[in-house]
Symmetry: C2
Subunit: 343 residues, 2 copies
Amino acid sequence: MAMDDRKMRILQAIIDDYILTGVPVGSRTISKKYDMGLSSATIRNEMSDLEELGFLDQPHVSAGRIPSAKAYRLYVDTLLQTGRIPNDSAETVRSHFAGRIHQMEDVIDHAAQMISSLTHYTAVVLSPKGEQPRIHTIQLVPVSSETALVVIVTDQGMVRDSVIRVGGQMDSDTLYAISRSLTEELRGTTLTEACERMPVIAERISGNDRMLQELYGFLNEDQNAPRRGHMAVGGTSNMLAYPEYSDVDKARNFLSLMETRDKLADIIRGSGGMSFTVRIGPETGVPEMADCSIVTAAYSSRGGQQGTIGVIGPTRMQYSKVLSILNIIGHQLTDMFTGEENE
Amino acid sequence: MAMDDRKMRILQAIIDDYILTGVPVGSRTISKKYDMGLSSATIRNEMSDLEELGFLDQPHVSAGRIPSAKAYRLYVDTLLQTGRIPNDSAETVRSHFAGRIHQMEDVIDHAAQMISSLTHYTAVVLSPKGEQPRIHTIQLVPVSSETALVVIVTDQGMVRDSVIRVGGQMDSDTLYAISRSLTEELRGTTLTEACERMPVIAERISGNDRMLQELYGFLNEDQNAPRRGHMAVGGTSNMLAYPEYSDVDKARNFLSLMETRDKLADIIRGSGGMSFTVRIGPETGVPEMADCSIVTAAYSSRGGQQGTIGVIGPTRMQYSKVLSILNIIGHQLTDMFTGEENE
DNA sequence: GTTAGCACTCGAAGGTGACGAGTGCTAACA
DNA sequence: TGTTAGCACTCGTCACCTTCGAGTGCTAAC
């Protein structure tokens, strides 16, 4: 027995209905609501076949069928193949981002907010990340007589800063002079390389041991704890609206997963930079997410860095809508990060 | 009828038991578990009195009593008066903060994490905020040939930055020269004042209209959207562990409140900078929190700025433990923000 | 003032039966 | 040979009932 066109249409109807209602769907529903021109009995036979083929599950004998992960997979694949990702709410999105936002963090927070409110699922946005950034400029800014702010601008236009102590009094001009030397020495190096080169530099710019030591400390820390970048999560509470999570225990598990940021970032980033990824149920590789799906999309910032936006929802997710929204917002972010803030 | 010592002791026992179990407590429980040397019948009479006095509520006839908001208030007041805030986990906390952390955001995130994991409630940490900060230094750092990073260091050692476009090519030295002039002109002014003064400055440093305009834009934006500072929330999912939130609707309400960051910040900051505040149930002034309590503590950073740490939990919260933990962590934060990063 | 005793209340838990949605199978039909 | 009507069967849901027990208030005795 193989998949034929009619089976396909019936499966499609079952998936649509289940995504809509979240309730197991029976043969009568399909035969009535979606006019197939077939009686429920026929549908039943087909459904029985579909179950045998692994596309449908039956929670218990006297309930309808629900689509299996395999069914969603098929569904999503055809969705992605035909490429008809509708352009629903493009205008809303554009107008939201119209106001100029300076800080990357704000953009990311905004995006997460927006995705979750458009989809009604949980949204995650990760800031761009690529190979280790290279130092473009180092500048020391006086903070108090004993401390200075060290600002490192990377070639990708990202900024890292920290307050360090400088030994002894240093005025603005002295700090600037040191900044120039440091920039000259370190431009184009990665943080790791910069760390290695510090001893050499220490010889050249002597007499500031304290400061250089603190600087080294900062570089080293930053390099070793590879800044997972910024991450924004929006709409975690949305998930509780779905009957899948009316069980408090399940809900708590899900929420605490959302709270362990590092793990979450790994999961989302696990998609590996494909332009679109859909992981369904077990495919997520996370036991806690056995009945969730994760849809991610990539966006880029300058320097070819890849950021990720993602949506986490129940397996019966409105994939087509979600893909559409991620598509729009992904493009919007790419525009913002390559265009507006670029030279 | 008035409150006497015995009534007080019984009330105390009821509160203790209810905080522990979350189940209405009956007269027998008190008479047996807490050896009062009184029979359940006597306790019953006293409980009846306590109810009349407004310290106890009865969910329904055949259940035990639960403490009212008024009772918690009394309880907390005596707790605060006697000042015996135990110093439980001071060592754990100290060792956690031992590793040097550069970024304020990290410290705050950490603190929220720690408070929630120690208390098993939801924790909120707000970064220090005081009167409008004054500009200490402005520095422009080259990012690309067309853009620069403007870094503003305030007198409280906080840093704000944004990338702006500079018209035409500017090398590092030119930018430094401009930075010096700007710092000279604007040191000691608030952001608002700085905005007002920009036209005057524009005349002096002419020929850089584009840049000054962008700079103005940044100052203005920052001033108008008074940076609510950083806020970290930890352990929202902890709340779901309490039977009070086994109702999914309630849980969702609570969680979406936790997600509207601005509102949450207002609520937490509503305590008004007292060193300790406890708001019980209706006292929170937030309908959604009618059966929550909010405990906050203040910590300070240099310049007398006040930050807030807070715990949100069910009204039957382990107040004494929470107060103790907030006490410790508040001190720790104060030490960090006034000592270590100070001159 | 304290306590034992007792009738009473009421929620929680568990059991029962009607109901209905849905299935699989069979036999009839085109 | 595919489709459909019919029917017996399954099983979860819901409403209803009973039982159980925790807890109360009241009264009378100590």
